[in-house]
Amino acid sequence: MADIVLDHITKRYPDGTIAADDINVEIADGEFIILVGPSGCGKSTALNMIAGLEDISEGELRIGGERMNERAPKDRDIAMVFQSYALYPHMTVRENMGFPLKMAKVDKAEINRKVEEAATILDLTQHLDRRPANMSGGQRQRVAMGRAIVRSPKAFLMDEPLSNLDAKLRVQMRTMVSKLQQRLQTTTVYVTHDQTEAMTLGDRIVVMRGGIVQQVGSPQTLYDTPANLFVAGFIGSPAMNFLPAKLEGGTFRTPLGDLALTDELRRTLEDADVQREVIVGIRPEHFEDAALVEEHQRGRGSVFTAQVEVLESMGSDKFAYFSIEGEQAMSDDLADLAADAGTADVPGGDTGTLVTRLSATSGVREGERTEVWVDTAKIRVFDPSSGKNLTSGTGAATAGETVRA
């Protein structure tokens, strides 16, 4: 076991493209860290550089305090789980899992003992003599895990290990991965493009975009105080709503109507010396059916009236969708997010939609005009040009977290 330090690491290809730009992250011993971002954000490149499958152009990689830049993958003592599992098809499960030990010249009895042990943990004991071709996706995935854990490496690297599984299995395997990591207490770097996986698995999350680290922090920190529009929009499902707003005195002029600022928010914004044009971000759960909000709470927020366009009842909650008239929040970060989600291509995607999560007891109906309450204390304000969160000082503490805009 060891800590992993990425000390200002850059990956530059011969043609000049920069896949990873000045990544600076310290991963503690035993930590479960997630690299997340849309495709092409450099997360896999970063992982491959840790693995040694790609050269590091600049900066230093240290595992357990030792410089690794020039070491071959086999001398780094780290194991990797691939998206495609990369099982050796001509070997049985036992041979697959024993392969790293065989390469390390461990004697046969010891290999057998360790393979059996790993197979017990992963519930593969009865499959040890089968070949990968005759196994299901979930089983293959577990064999890949087994091959990684069997030699107790300093660290695990996982490259989207669950993305080839169907949705239900993915959730089960997610729990398994989490339990496994807790049990083994081995430093783990996990790459995914799925923010749900990132939120549920990681001790800390590194959000990347275009080769640049956007923010590093615990799932809750990223959710509560995103460093910028990109992180705000990427983390959370359904995503945060973004609205263009004009700051006038104590209120935001938004397409939803005027939203009154809380005192705390006003003070923060005054300190930050904000321009008048901003983007406000409101998470779906910070809306509520006004009829269900008690009188003393109402004062803390604002109420607007709009027509419910689509209502999805999830049982535990109701998701109400409203369409927003007028202009849209515009920013590079948001354009990137839309491109990643594919919503830029969806017809009617340019008319803004507001997603709200209301209580299941709400009596709202599709097509009816409804009064909706917004918890203005939870509003996040972003600079439209830089995308920076102007309210990151509010809410949860940001101490100890690296924040880069």
Binding site: A51, A86, L87, Y88
Partner: protein, 279 residues
């Protein structure tokens, strides 16, 4: 084929077509087989089934020293050429499939050029060269040109197989602590085995059946191969045609190839790589 199992009429047609192809290919072989069992007097009677059976032809060719030594030469030269061509071809094909190096296209182009070159045009230069360097009428004198002409075929077949093997398997092997050579030996080569055996069979057949180089570059039983020996058969007397002996020798020559193919056919299992990646 799903359609052949359903409609009985299509099934009949497929059967007839198949039978025709098999007949077309097999009749000459059966004819040779029949000739090899005929006695000298009945050999020209034109009967498909011999009226009197004999093993004299076989006994006779083995009584000739020239044929036994030629058989040894053929087997030795073909096996050595095959092994070398496959080993070199495997490494070259791997490099072509996996690495990006300057001059890769030129290399592939040149090897293709060699394959397209009419071999007859190279016989006299080769003859002169081999005489000059002392390779004429030796095993290496045949093995070298065989490897040269078999390599393009080997490289082409094998690089297609290597391209099919997922890159990630090698990365996985590297992560599991294997050196590049270990990864190649214990992961890539076993997976490319069907390709290696296919190539080996093709190269072996090419070397085994070659007549042009064998007759041009050899002169004595030191290195004459079986194909040349057959051509040099003489009858019992000056006027007797050695038809029976030639037929018997031809039958004998096909046997190693049939054994070779049957032996390795089992290793040519399609879809050996299935299960490596994805679900």
């Amino acid at each position: 084929m799903a359609t052949t199992t359903g409609d009985p009429r299509t099934r009949v047609w497929w059967g007839i077509a198949g039978l025709l192809v098999v007949l077309y290919a097999l009749v000459p072989v059966l004819w040779i087989l029949s000739l090899s069992f005929k006695t000298t007097d009945t050999i020209t009677d034109g009967n498909f089934i011999p009226r009197s059976w004999t093993l004299d032809n076989y006994a006779q060719i083995f009584s000739l020293d020239i044929f036994t030594s030629a058989l040894v030469n053929s087997i030795g030269i073909a096996i050595i050429s095959t092994v070398l061509a496959v080993v070199i071809g495997t490494m070259a094909a791997y490099a072509i499939a996996r690495l990006d190096f300057p001059g890769k296209k030129v290399l592939v182009g040149v090897s293709l050029l060699i394959a397209m070159f009419p071999q007859i045009s190279l016989v006299s230069p080769l003859f002169d060269i081999e005489r000059a360097v002392g390779l004429f009428d030796t095993w290496p004198g045949l093995i070298l040109p065989y490897i040269t002409f078999a390599l393009p075929l080997a490289i082409y077949t094998l690089s297609a197989f290597f391209r099919e093997i997922p890159w990630e398997l090698e990365k996985a092997a590297k992560m599991d602590g294997a050196t590049p050579m270990q990864a190649f030996r214990s992961i890539i080569v076993p997976l490319a085995a069907p390709g290696v055996f296919t190539t080996a069979i093709l190269v072996f057949i090419f070397c085994w059946n070659d007549f042009l180089f064998a007759i041009s570059l050899t002169s004595t039983s030191r290195s004459q191969t079986a194909t040349v020996a057959i051509a040099n058969f003489t009858g019992a007397s000056q006027f007797a045609e050695p038809t029976g002996s030639i037929a018997a020798a031809a039958v004998l020559l096909t046997i190693p190839i049939i054994i070779f193919v049957l032996l390795f056919q089992r290793r040519i299992v399609a879809g050996l790589t299935s299960g490596a990646v994805k679900g």
